[in-house]
Point group: C2
Chain length 343, copies 2
Amino acid sequence: MTPAAARRPTILDVAARAGVSKSAVSLALRGSPGISDATRARILTCAEDLGYRGNRLARALVEGRSALVGVVLNDLSNPYHTEIVAGIEDGATAMGATTLLTHGQRDPHRTVLQVEMLLGLNVEGLVLVGSRVPVDALERLGRTLPTIVVGRLEAPVPGVDTIANDDEAGARSAVHHLAALGHEHVAHVSSSTRPAALSRRRAYLATMDDLGLGDRAVVHARDRLDGTEEDLDEVARRAVADPRTTAVFASNDVAALAVLDAASAAGRSLPGDLSVVGYDNSTISRIVRPRLTSVDQPRPLMGTLAAEMLAERLAGRTTDRHEVLPPTLVVRDSTAPPAARVV
Amino acid sequence: MTPAAARRPTILDVAARAGVSKSAVSLALRGSPGISDATRARILTCAEDLGYRGNRLARALVEGRSALVGVVLNDLSNPYHTEIVAGIEDGATAMGATTLLTHGQRDPHRTVLQVEMLLGLNVEGLVLVGSRVPVDALERLGRTLPTIVVGRLEAPVPGVDTIANDDEAGARSAVHHLAALGHEHVAHVSSSTRPAALSRRRAYLATMDDLGLGDRAVVHARDRLDGTEEDLDEVARRAVADPRTTAVFASNDVAALAVLDAASAAGRSLPGDLSVVGYDNSTISRIVRPRLTSVDQPRPLMGTLAAEMLAERLAGRTTDRHEVLPPTLVVRDSTAPPAARVV
DNA sequence: TTGAAAGCGCTAACAA
DNA sequence: TTGTTAGCGCTTTCAA
């Protein structure tokens, strides 16, 4: 009594049907030489007839390589990541590898579990996108297999390559844009103390200084001295409440959205009464009204670059590589010259 | 000359170190009985020392089952899907399976390729979320392995289970909500001719009839008679241009967003001058202003249910199951009673 | 040009 | 309680 579901045909079934040995089938299937065209054609036909489908697991086992690459997102629901993923996948496909996609639900612990899972499946390389993997775990990965981190790290980890956008340049372009429009009281809303946000915060202050506006710079940050985080909307309200402030540079689009809301609630008209620049050029920036001026990271490029660096590692590179890519400012409707002052 | 990267330790290495046979290690690792506690402890320690990590590929090969489940999204960048995925993953984890996530980039062809890839990895089941897999391919899948489709199908496919929300009920609740607010001229903006959108369109018309408003119903659809699709913004403009229309039910949140924009552009104030209801309760509905009233599908439940149905199939169920879940209306700020008419 | 045989890392009989 | 053995489906020597 065999089960109802037909067993999946193996290479042996094809061999039997074609009247050859299983190694002949293996050769034929992968287009290797050392087999006559006639036999190959016959074998291919038989395989087709049987609906034969190679067993990648078996192949990976015997070849000692899986041609699998793991991609771990911090958070699947973050639309910021999807273009990066597409880039990685394109690159991986080009090098004959298959990407396995997972996500850590924003939780470092779950992220580590996902990574474990991928290692169990014998992935040959790992790309971590924005994932908050603990440094010790990252170090272990760097020793174990090619590992690329897309996103800013607090400090380099040996054996781990990184790809990030130039947060300093991005922040600078945002502030310069606002200053060029005539804004002097440009405030900053900072959403976190993670490396990328901190870089932007520092660059904001430095740029304000460079422009001779250092004494007008003011940072509204969520992080409190006691280590807790203030509500983002509350921070936005604070920033908007200052009547001198005519423009805000926010450390990401989510924070910018909070500022837009707070401004509306406070009766400040946008962008005349208050200009806002975000960071990430996420879908949010196209959905909100006014449409958000935002700093764009070259996401597709970051993805293909990740795949490329992975390929290099697999080809034998052992030195670490840290790539920083230039962002570009996308100007939309949320920034304009400051309205004439009614004193 | 061995390569620099240390070979990953196998069960044999552990056995050698512990001075036992490899089957003893296998037993110890999986907590099977038939081995003394002392030996087990020793083996576990050795495995730990060596940094041993089981090879799932080898295990899958010998056990004849992979404990892998494939999840295929139509589009990774569609935030609508992510909660469903979380549900599927939770369910799969509970049944001891691992989910492999992929996406088809909205392209049926690419989707089929992804499915092929998953089959090559010996997944034991497949969950397709909103994916547009051609019917013939779907039929083949239904014959080959447990397959669950989350989303509405044009017609049932033998061997394929489905999970969908009740589009009729959702459309009805949207129209009833608007009618209860006092709207009579409720128009519908329909974004496509896909099964879900068509169901909502039909239910809209039926509900308007039921309410005695049949003669005031008007459908603004993208689909033209010649089979082409009109620009969504253009359709929204048309809908908003009709001065009698005081409310719009859109077939999804993206369409609703287009209506909101068109309304603003036409100088109609929201929601007093025009009320709008969307469908999907996507992140869009929380980002736009006014916040969008929208029909919510029970996504987490859809996900866990998918995993559950998969488990049933794997346990031997051979009858098809089609589940339809009730949606709920989430009322936000985009709907209000019609403003008093200035005649 | 083809077939036979070994073995990838593991589990699951079975024998000791 | 332990060790031995035979494969899972495939690739890859090596002979024929």
